[in-house]
Symmetry: C2
Subunit: 198 residues, 2 copies
DNA sequence: GACGATACGGAACAGCGTTCCGTTTTGGCA
DNA sequence: TGCCAAAACGGAACGCTGTTCCGTATCGTC
């Protein structure tokens, strides 16, 4: 993907250096958003983020047309890291199933430690679909690779697809703030249920 | 529980016959809500329900102080049926684990067939906590009984509690409308993962 | 230094759950 | 039967969202 907003191919696409204030605000915004997400969760009001960054809400929407785009930008690095860990784990692990389990743990940890992220991912109401889609687009191929390898090795059943497994894990991580609900253990159960019945 | 709103013990508690219009509106409201929930999901706007019933929103809140109370009232019968099925299945099933599996299927079916119910159950934002609590209060004891029986029989691991299992199943049922996500299969996996590693 | 392009800020809009209160309906009692 | 206080009604209004709009301020170039 291109970091610029334009994507039309062929045209010269005049670079038009980014204005200094725009860049400054965008960076302050990302920093502020990250801080607010930690403090108040991913569903924090846009106005709170604007206040934290010392800018107006209009400026937020200039840089990130939808709220979800801001969330994506804040977590992009961590999603990338998770995606890149997949092949590495597959190469390192004793078996594909073990690698899959470790990768899922990584993914679940990511969701559990970001207050409200899992809930936002399956949010039907506000425009969080883009967030959901981004996660899936980026991570489903990775998960598919692990899943296929584990299926080929005969360790797990082969009728489960990456998309539903990831959605399942994502769903299980909702509400992990409640000390009475151990999301990680539920994920562990789900992955255990994946193993071929003997 | 008492069907009347009053619960203070000892006092004569004057019965005060319910006014005819109040009763009529309450029944129209429940019917309308059920229809709207089927058509638009559980998260349908209160105003839509009021319009369907031909009454004002104020009247809704007179009968059901919180939105969740209305949802509870609409689904109360089905929750009761599910709760009562627990002991029956335990008595009927070949093993406690089989009974547990069937009961969880019942519960999952209930959630999956009510458009958006599962999502509402874990909703942190609006006042749906009462809904969540009602489900848990009524069903966790039933689930505990099944879970304990299956653990005692040695069929399943004994470190999983009813509350987290039910939350897990509830979470897995979110988003079951999407044809690419088979919530029932994920629940099946979770329950399979419960069985004692051999 | 001037000026056009760009970006900013926050008031304004739409949609939500919920509350409030002036108006209407009801049913026991004279 | 007619009266009238108590009960219930309806929907405007409130406070909270995300998002849009546009007059104003800033930037960078000439």
């Amino acid at each position: 993907m291109n970091d610029r907003h334009e994507g039309a191919a062929g045209r010269p696409a005049p670079p038009k250096r980014e204005r200094a204030d725009a860049r400054r605000n965008r960076e302050a915004l990302l920093e502020a958003a990250a801080a607010v997400f930690v403090r108040s969760g991913v569903e924090a009001p846009v106005r709170d983020i604007a206040a934290e960054a010392g800018i107006g809400v209009g400026t937020i929407y200039r840089h990130f047309p939808k709220r979800a785009d801001l969330v994506i930008a804040v977590f992009r690095h961590q999603v990338e890291a998770c995606a890149e860990a997949g092949p590495a784990l597959l190469a390192a692990g004793p078996t594909p199933y073990a690698a899959l389990g470790r990768w899922i743990d990584l993914f679940a940890d990511f969701l559990v430690t970001k207050h409200g992220l899992a809930a936002a991912l399956r949010s039907d109401s506000t425009g969080f679909e883009a967030l959901h889609d981004y996660f899936l687009d980026r991570l489903v191929p990775v998960c598919t690779e692990l899943l296929d390898a584990a299926a080929d090795s005969g360790e797990i059943r082969s009728d489960v697809r990456a998309l539903e497994l990831m959605r399942g894990v994502g769903n299980l991580c909702v509400g992990a703030d409640d000390p009475r609900y151990d999301a990680r253990r539920m994920v562990e159960l789900l992955i255990a249920g994946l193993s071929r019945p003997r």
